[in-house]
């Protein structure tokens, strides 16, 4: 299918009344959740994931994608107005965004964040159009050994970039692999770790665990904090449309942030967050007045905000072309697709063109909706921020509980969610990061299947993983990543990055 026909298919799919409506719901709900401190896109997607089960697959994915980049945008609003990042990818925006607000320039900060995100999102979509089909074609040539090595590389990067000491990241990943093996063996169907429970026959379930660890766990951590209302910078927000000088100062940071964000977003791990730090560092390095960064320069908002939206687009590429989720959000997307009986991977674009191209078109429409709707709605988000957290959190918990119950009307799944909520909460307190656990749980079955297939092909000889150049290169990259980590200078820089993230 040529690109023009594909785009026609995509827009004709995305521009139906119901898909437009769900795109609007997704970006609005995503922005709402992104605005609320303590809840990020993972929690937002987890909350609405059960609702998507009643929708057709393309509509479900459009809704979830809208939530994802809506949450990215919403997070920047609290960063600029309250100096509190709505989610980790908005941490950097606090540095200059809040200072701009204090100087009476909240409007241009919010405006350039919105426009920058729109431009980055649009260009990021072009990137997906270019790379995803190519990567999908290349992926058809890789076999079980290469897939196994790819999952090793993906998991390695996630572990290395996780918070906390390396050994704790490895332990969490290993626990995730074990959790992923609960249920029927993917090859023979043999029941593993089910202890006679019907609920566990299909495994622990990605949705209850993700909602538990990232929804309930987040709330449990936040309720323990002070309930004093935060300072919202009190000023009438005006002048949302950036002036000519603002555009002159921002256009190159936006374009650079887009490129950085897109390519970093493809990498596994907290790539969206990393892209914002990378963009900020680049802008500061290239600026004629680096000493002004942190005092309210628009480049400090334009670059990172563009980077995080472009990274959102980049993160889709490994999922749709290789079937490998690059982060927890993509793992939830993967879960949503698999619940509808769709396996993302090299054959995804060819077998489900209406879903892939419909998703691409809806991302463009969603970015436009975000720009048009959210600037006028800023006043509403500010009012929402005044609602005390100790009134909001019971609603969030309730939505989590009901959301899980609607999956299979199973009380036991609610219990699994609460247990993993406690697990996630305890992990945060004692220095373990939940991200490797979730990713390992999702990648584990893929890793196991490709490992066993490879060993069957080679009749037990592990040399099969080193015989293929692609597999060898992937394993080499994974090893190199660990070696680099062990070098003291790089370890020190990683600690600084983690402190900034934490």
């Amino acid at each position: 299918m040529d690109l023009f026909s594909a785009l026609i298919l995509g827009f004709s799919t995305a521009l139906t009344v119901s898909n437009l409506a769900y795109c609007l719901i997704g970006v609005t709900f995503g922005t709402l959740i992104g605005v609320l401190p303590g809840l990020g896109p993972v929690a937002a997607i987890s909350l609405l994931l059960p609702i998507t089960y009643k929708l057709v697959p393309v509509t479900a994915i459009i809704l979830l994608a809208g939530i994802f980049y809506g949450a990215m945008y919403g997070g920047s609003t609290t960063s600029i107005l309250m100096n509190i990042p709505g989610e980790t990818a908005s941490v950097v925006t606090c540095l200059d965004g809040y200072m701009m607000a204090r100087q009476g320039r909240a409007g241009p900060a919010l405006g350039i964040a919105a426009f920058g995100s729109f431009i980055a999102g649009t260009l990021g979509i072009v990137g997906i159009l270019s790379l995803a089909p190519l990567l999908g074609q290349a992926a058809l040539r890789i076999g079980p050994p290469e897939y196994f090595s790819l999952t090793i590389l993906g998991l390695s990067l996630i572990i290395i970039l996780s918070r906390g000491p390396l050994v704790k990241g490895l332990i969490m990943a290993t626990l995730g692999l074990l959790a992923g093996s609960v249920g029927g063996d993917p090859v023979s169907g043999f029941q593993r770790f089910t202890f006679g429970s019907f609920t566990l026959i299909d495994g622990l379930g990605l949705v209850p665990i993700a909602m538990g660890m990232f929804g309930i766990g987040e709330v449990l951590e936040n309720v323990g904090r002070s309930s004093k209302s935060e300072d919202i910078y009190e000023t009438k927000i005006h002048g949302l449309l950036p002036k000519l000088q603002d555009w002159k100062d921002s256009i190159w940071p936006i374009l650079r942030g887009t490129v950085i964000g897109f390519f970093v977003g493809i990498l596994p791990g907290p790539s969206v967050t990393i892209s914002t730090f990378a963009s900020y560092a680049v802008e500061k390095k290239l600026s004629r007045h680096p000493e002004k960064f942190g005092t309210g320069v628009i480049q400090g908002v334009a670059g990172p905000e563009s980077a995080n939206n472009a990274a959102t687009c980049g993160a889709f590429i490994p999922l749709v072309s290789l079937g490998i989720p690059a982060n927890v959000t993509m793992a939830l997307f993967m879960g949503a697709l698999m619940i509808h009986g769709i396996q993302p991977g090299p054959l995804f674009i060819g077998q489900y063109p209406e879903i892939f191209w419909g998703l691409i078109a809806s991302m463009y429409i969603g970015n436009a909706l975000l720009l048009v709707l959210n600037l006028p709605l800023i006043g509403l988000w500010v009012r929402l921020l005044r609602v005390p957290y100790n009134i909001l959190f019971p609603l969030v918990l309730l939505f989590c509980l009901i959301g899980v119950y609607t999956l299979n009307s199973n009380i036991f799944e609610m219990l699994i969610m609460v247990v993993f909520g406690v697990f996630g909460y305890v992990n945060r307190k004692i220095g373990f990061d939940g991200t490797p656990f979730i990713l390992a749980m999702v990648l584990g079955p893929i890793m196991e299947k490709s490992l066993r297939q490879s060993l069957l092909i080679s009749r037990g000889h592990p040399g099969i993983f080193f015989g293929s150049p692609i597999s060898l290169a992937l394993l080499g990259l994974a090893s190199l990543a660990f070696i680099v980590l062990l070098i003291p200078t790089f370890r020190k820089k990683k600690e600084v990055l983690k402190e900034d993230q934490g």
Binding site: K54, S181, R192, F193, N390, I391, L397, L398, R452, H461
Partner: protein, 155 residues
Amino acid sequence: MKKTDLLVSLILLALTLGASLEIRNMPIGSFGSPGAGFFPFLVAILLGILTLILLAQTIWEKGKEKATPSNVWGEWKKGTLTVACLLGFIALFEYLGFLISTFFLMAFLLLAVGGRKWLEAIGTALISAFVCHLLFNSLLKASLPAGLLKGLLGN
């Protein structure tokens, strides 16, 4: 933090042992023909090794640990109360039904954890329960149990 690492190491060792006992009941197969227990077996070995490394690190760094004052109960109190509310909700959800259990959940969380005033908590809990009932049962057609209100709500 180090005491917790010691406790975590012991829990992980127990988990590794438990998993190993369960894996004994699975067909492990061989390298040439891996069975259902092959992958969990490798993972369990890895977990055991990593846990021993964590334990060794914890014991090695024990001497360097500075005593820090902790207010463990203060930090964990609200979280514990919240979890207790959630477990109570789950236990009574199908018996009491969605509407009644939601009301009690919201009321307890707002009062005991949120520290809101009685009237405000009860009012908010009532409104939330009814709005959520409309949203989930009427609008989204989720099949939530009516419980004690079965005759009234007809579900």
